[in-house]
Symmetry: C2
Subunit: 230 residues, 2 copies
DNA sequence: TATCCCATGTAAAGCGTTACATGATTAA
DNA sequence: TTAATCATGTAACGCTTTACATGGGATA
């Protein structure tokens, strides 16, 4: 049902045709929130109209139909927004791939992670440029027209993209640390100084790609088998 | 096809039965990476076996079958890991809901965001506790057994959860700022909204660097309409 | 024995992807 | 005129969800 509400959300912002909504979908929701293809959009718009949640307010050239949300549609959207399920659906092929990297050897895994970090950095640069050109100072943190559509999405990217990049760089240092140890001497895993360096992560956020030298300490073997449960 | 590779990944880590793999799935992949139900797991295991990518290595009580990955399975997984598509699938019902918040009035949106931030904080606390109990110092940033399954996932949570929480708090300040401005003419807006703590300020997005170059501030009009494109 | 959790499935319906199809408008 | 892009759809197939179904093992 999520596609239905994604479309109602777009329509709540502004009426539009199937083609136009598909474009807006791609530009604003596709990356972080929800993915859908154009034919799915057309079909869902038909259903929305059949259910009285949207209506055709204009018909133009070559069959173009402009849809607008109805009052019933607004009510339905509102209800959905205010009643989140306990277990929302999450699917992210990016992240899945990254989580399974342990199945590769360290060199390959490192390369995939470096590509990922670089791609994230490019996205971040593009977003920063967009947002600056829209008269928004990312350091100040105040956007014009708060709560406008796309506003929340832009802020989301500005927060999450650096974290995502930093995670990838952190993962690379983990690999390098292990590789360094394995090269040294087999079996033994103990190196002094566990508190020595302060975080090779966060903060520094080196633009561009990872430098990832830094050596660290590895402590005894341990669990951390899984992420926290449901 | 992603479910297939999620399962191959789990099997590459360790063999297991359908029930067991379902549990591992829920604990490690479900939250950030990929969601699937138990019956889907059983069906996919059958297909995996039929395709020679996994095999039954043990049959136990009440029909229990333990599957292991085959060499063909490892090769297939490896190929998938090394050849990412240009446009991976992303679906996140959480984020979708948050992006569409503009369709609510500010008070309601604020409440949804506050609930979200609190839930994320609880997740983060749980993860931190788990990771500390597993002999990992989150400030040091060095994990035992790098690249182990779940290791990358734990690090991911440690990086992304704070960003996610900070974004929600940033969004709340945006709402409050706008509400303060609007209070000029419109009616009362100084209500003591529900359990809100009011201290939505956190150090992150507010640091440094003087304001902008500023030219023609178009407030209220549609600057920053969309997130960066595909 | 009753009850709960373990453990594995099947069937139907709904959602999403891939491939195919069609015609209009705009720019070279 | 030709090609690219705009713009809208249909059909078949595959993936996911919901609901239903079954029985073993452990414990009170």
């Amino acid at each position: 049902m999520s596609l239905r509400y994604a479309l109602l959300g777009l329509l709540a912002d502004e009426a539009g045709s199937g083609y136009e909504l598909t474009k807006r979908f791609e530009r604003s929701l596709d990356r972080y929130a929800w993915h859908a293809k154009h034919n799915q959009v057309y079909q869902e718009l038909n259903r929305l109209a059949a259910d009285g949640l949207a209506e055709v307010v204009e018909e133009g050239a070559r069959g173009r139909k402009t849809y607008a949300i109805t009052e019933a549609g607004r009510a339905d959207l509102r209800h959905w927004l205010l009643n989140p399920p306990r277990t929302p659906v999450v699917r992210n092929e990016f992240v899945l791939r990254l989580f399974l990297l342990f199945a590769l050897d360290p060199k390959e895994a490192r390369s995939v992670l470096a590509d990922y970090a670089a791609a994230v950095q490019r996205d971040l640069d593009a977003l920063t440029a967009l947002v600056e050109s829209a008269n928004f100072d990312p350091h100040d943190g105040v956007l014009p027209d708060p709560l406008a559509f796309g506003h929340l999405a832009a802020g989301f990217g500005l927060h999450m993209l650096p974290a995502s990049r930093d995670w990838a760089q952190w993962a690379i240092t983990q690999i390098d640390n292990q590789a360094g140890e394995d090269a040294g001497h087999e079996g033994a895993r103990e190196t002094g100084t566990s508190g020595g360096d302060g975080s090779a992560e966060d903060g520094d956020a080196t633009k561009g790609s990872g430098s990832a030298e830094d050596s660290g300490a590895t402590k005894g073997s341990g669990a951390v088998d899984e992420a926290p449960g449901s």
